[in-house]
Symmetry: C2
Subunit: 156 residues, 2 copies
């Protein structure tokens, strides 16, 4: 892990980052992370362009990366549910070369359909970039549900 | 593999079984299965109740089983595409305990949403049972597309 730069409080108070922290800390059943700061938990999500270039695209992607990817999209699903009232179920299929597909579905509606690649290098330039990216995906999901509310409400 | 009982020609002439055979034989790039009969190829899909009871639900499910499961649903996707003109993309996520979820999506529509379990024992009582099961799933998929044709036609 690289050195952890303290993020401004405004960033860790962002609703998306807050729910991501909550989701991650929920995995800490033994209390091992109680002394780990929010910054340290968010840090592995931040991979700068320079760091990214140094990560080779060979071998299976690190399971921790896939775990972070799932958390990121679970958090997006939670945010979409908060805004629309429709629960979003995630399904992710990543092959061993580090590319694949992530879906969030609500009822019979495909809310988010993301094709993912180069997942060995999954990460964001900065916390702000992560928040921006999440906001865009959430917006797209909310728009999809607003376009087809009846489909989202139909059990599949 | 159990002894292979010859299935009546009417069964191997069934359109679903024919397209399943075609999909499977398409994997045979080296010609190794040229002398393998259609019956022998279909046989592993047939698991009687007695055989099923003897298969323990421990350890990871056999990759060959997951391969057959994917083929079965790919074939269903092909049949739905043939009837409706909408291509169906499969996405499958099975955990190591042998249960999970299989989706077929067309555009923004979830055409098939199948929760799967006990996959160590995946198979059908008979070829006829497999054809019946496939026909029911295909019918459900076609019905979903007919209910929301606009959603199936919207790119996700």
């Amino acid at each position: 892990m690289a050195e952890t730069a303290a993020h401004p409080a405004s960033v860790t108070q962002d609703p998306f980052i807050k729910s991501l922290l909550m989701l991650i800390r929920a995995h800490d059943s033994s209390g091992a992370w109680e002394t780990v700061t929010d910054d340290e938990i968010i840090d592995p999500f931040i991979v700068t362009k320079e760091q990214r270039r140094e990560i080779p695209l060979i071998g299976d992607p690190d399971p921790d990366i896939l775990w972070r990817l799932e958390l990121f999209y679970n958090c997006i699903g939670m945010a979409i549910e908060k805004r629309t009232g429709h629960a979003c179920a995630p399904i992710m299929k990543i092959n061993h070369e580090g590319w694949g597909r992530m879906l969030l579905t609500a009822g019979r509606l495909v809310v988010i359909n993301a094709y993912l690649r180069d997942l060995h290098r999954f990460g964001f330039d900065s916390v702000e970039a992560m928040i921006d990216k999440a906001a865009k995906i959430i917006e797209a999901g909310v728009t999809a549900i607003e376009a087809f509310p009846q489909v989202a409400a139909t059990a599949a």
